[in-house]
Symmetry: C2
Subunit: 217 residues, 2 copies
Amino acid sequence: MNTGQKRKTERRQKEQLARRRAILAAAREVFFAKGFMDATIDDIADRCSLAKGTIYLYFRSKEDLYTSIMAEGMERLRREFEVLKNLPPGEPGLVESAFRAYIGFYRKNRKYFRIMFLSSQPDVRARTPQEVLLRCMETGMECMGIVRDLVQEGIERAYYRKVDSWAVANILWASINGIIMAYENDPIYRDEFAGMEMEKMLLHSLDLVLEGLKVKK
Amino acid sequence: MNTGQKRKTERRQKEQLARRRAILAAAREVFFAKGFMDATIDDIADRCSLAKGTIYLYFRSKEDLYTSIMAEGMERLRREFEVLKNLPPGEPGLVESAFRAYIGFYRKNRKYFRIMFLSSQPDVRARTPQEVLLRCMETGMECMGIVRDLVQEGIERAYYRKVDSWAVANILWASINGIIMAYENDPIYRDEFAGMEMEKMLLHSLDLVLEGLKVKK
DNA sequence: TCATTAAAATGACTACGAGTCATTAAATGA
DNA sequence: TCATTTAATGACTCGTAGTCATTTTAATGA
């Protein structure tokens, strides 16, 4: 009768998972409030009422924690992108929908973006366990796949030119990130520098890409 | 006769400037080799045979040093962009020239890009003197101005649609950075992920933008 | 109920690096 | 030569990431 034993083990695992989540929640709050460099492990430990050593039973390094928050962000994005899979058939603005979904995600999850940009820096990656990085990459790839499918559909319906849909998905992704990064860098002076606010710039960019995709009349 | 005095003072200033440059050279080597987080001020001090304290007579923080290297990179970029001001009149591929100039700059100055991306992170910026950040921004603005002028010229010659040339310059810049950032993040797996190497992706992006800019036939 | 053992949590401790500042050395000038 | 200003030094402080011997808690079973 190891059923009893097994059940105990399961409970343990659940407790561990709950602990892990509590730590992540604390880390999220601290990193959101202070950024990576100014946050300390003690801050995070205090926030979830654990000792510093305990944190290291659940995560390998400060970077592991940080990148795990990024992974969380990617997961949220994927969930947000799920709706794109079930667009009403015949829907015309395929790429536009994806673009706007990403903007919408940004609006609701601003704080994750700083983390995404910093945690993809080689310095941070070098101290992050492979598995976490892999998880992020895979989630990102799924999101990108959804966008690629939309582009492909647009091509098949002859809305768009015959372009490399995977490349276009990557370019869309990179362009938006590039713009967001530029604005996030210096939110105070950037409007003045660029002469318009971010959303408007993003929509300009959308317009440019759509024009580039459209079949010529 | 304070001519003597003055000359002495001038010599002093020159020596200080030389010292400053020596420190910057050492910092560049160390940061290029180790990245921001793994580099230490002692590394840099050793490299230019000075004591740690001396570094702090010339720079306010590790971040000041780091961002000063970024400023150096921006300066190089601007010099690279100067040629764009004197394109042969009647030259058709205006935006293409700018795009390729930026790619060329990237090829020759890969190492500066990591620094640019990290030193524009809020964490780093917060510890960098305003003046250095301002210098970077101004240099960037000059570069962007050159691109805007090219776009504007293209519009006036009716190569391109009537778009907001400043916005397009910003979008071009952001898109290329976004792509480079994506690849720099994980140069090993990225080719596999994206299915093509960076240069090809950049050229795809150029194609897309040019199509988006062209006047419809 | 209590002893035994295994697992989890703890926080004092180590190692290390950024930044400081009292001290020393060099340059200048009378 | 000596006085004074300026530059350079490196031992020091302080803060934090990560460790590990010790303690606490929980599970097991007699």
